[in-house]
Amino acid sequence: MPDQPLDPEPEVTAPRTSRRRASLLIGVLCLLLGFALAVQVRTTSADSGLGSARQEDLVRILDDLSAREDRLRQDIAGQEEIRDRLATGGNQADTALAEARLRQQQLAILAGTVVAQGPGIELTVSDPGDGVGPEVLLDAIQELRAAGAEAIQIGDVRIGVSTAVTGNPGSLVIDGTSLSAPYRIVVIGDPPTLETALNIPGGVVNTVSRAGGQTRIEQREQVTVSALRVLEPPEYAQPAPEND
């Protein structure tokens, strides 16, 4: 529904001055329109749209922003809580893991399932007369343990909790492995204490010499107990529930 065709008044005999004035007016209007158009475009692109927004729009935008901020703050709080929980949980798990590793290493050395090294002594028992019996070796093991030995190896056999020394003088058997003299015993522990324990009157050195053998003890800063034991899982015994 265009404006113009509604009242068509074709000028037929308009005076010249009137026509000039009209076209001037039209020109001014068009100038104004262009000016306003450019200004409006500039204004719209200049501000972010908030400047020309209405009050109710602004209030709604503000409400939206506030609600969003609340939501984000809640998110932040939740995430921080999770982060804290994960951090402490991670720390606890790490500590527990480190403790378990340490304990496992200690138990492995005790059980003889890992190679152990440290200060200790090397004890060599020679038995030219085949007089050293299993009880002498057993004595030696017990003496060394009493002196604080932490890992013992006789020949190629690691000494553990279930070690048995059997056989006859001259043909000793430890845990099913037969040994022959001289017996080489590697012990990890405090070297002076171990040597003293072996040398006490009525001790290992005495007993061996009485049986016709000889002992040689060397203190070392570093010895390696390299023989390993195979652990048999317990068939009957089970850990009892802890009551404390």
Binding site: M1, P2, D3, Q4, E9, E11, I26, L33
Partner: protein, 110 residues
């Protein structure tokens, strides 16, 4: 010819001067521009139809702008300014489309 030149000159002037729109005018300026555009399209169409009248054009131009601004002003006073602005823009847009279609038929004969 003169109106087109004046329009271009106005755009250039607006870009160069880059004045700040007064706050009270800001809601009405875009509506006024759209209304004026509608009048210009109507004028071009009338010109092509051969029934252009300068007086009608000027009066319709001014009254279009004033009425559009008045409607928006009223809407603001009644609390439905945004909706009425939309309504005005929609109506003017439809008119501009109609006029543009008529101009197109004149120019391209299609």
């Amino acid at each position: 010819m003169i109106p087109a030149l004046a329009l271009a000159l106005g755009i250039v002037l607006g870009l160069i001067l880059d004045p700040t729109v007064p706050l009270w005018l800001q809601p009405y300026l875009p509506i006024a521009v759209v209304a004026a555009l509608d009048s210009v399209f109507g004028g071009v169409r009338a010109r092509l139809d051969g029934i252009f009248d300068a007086k009608v054009f000027v009066v319709s131009f001014v009254s279009n702008v004033l009425v559009a601004a008045l409607i928006v002003f009223l809407g603001d006073q009644l609390g439905v300014g945004a909706q009425l602005s939309t309504a005005v823009v929609v109506v003017l847009g439809i008119r501009i489309f109609g006029n543009a279609a008529a101009i197109r038929r004149h120019v391209f004969r299609a």
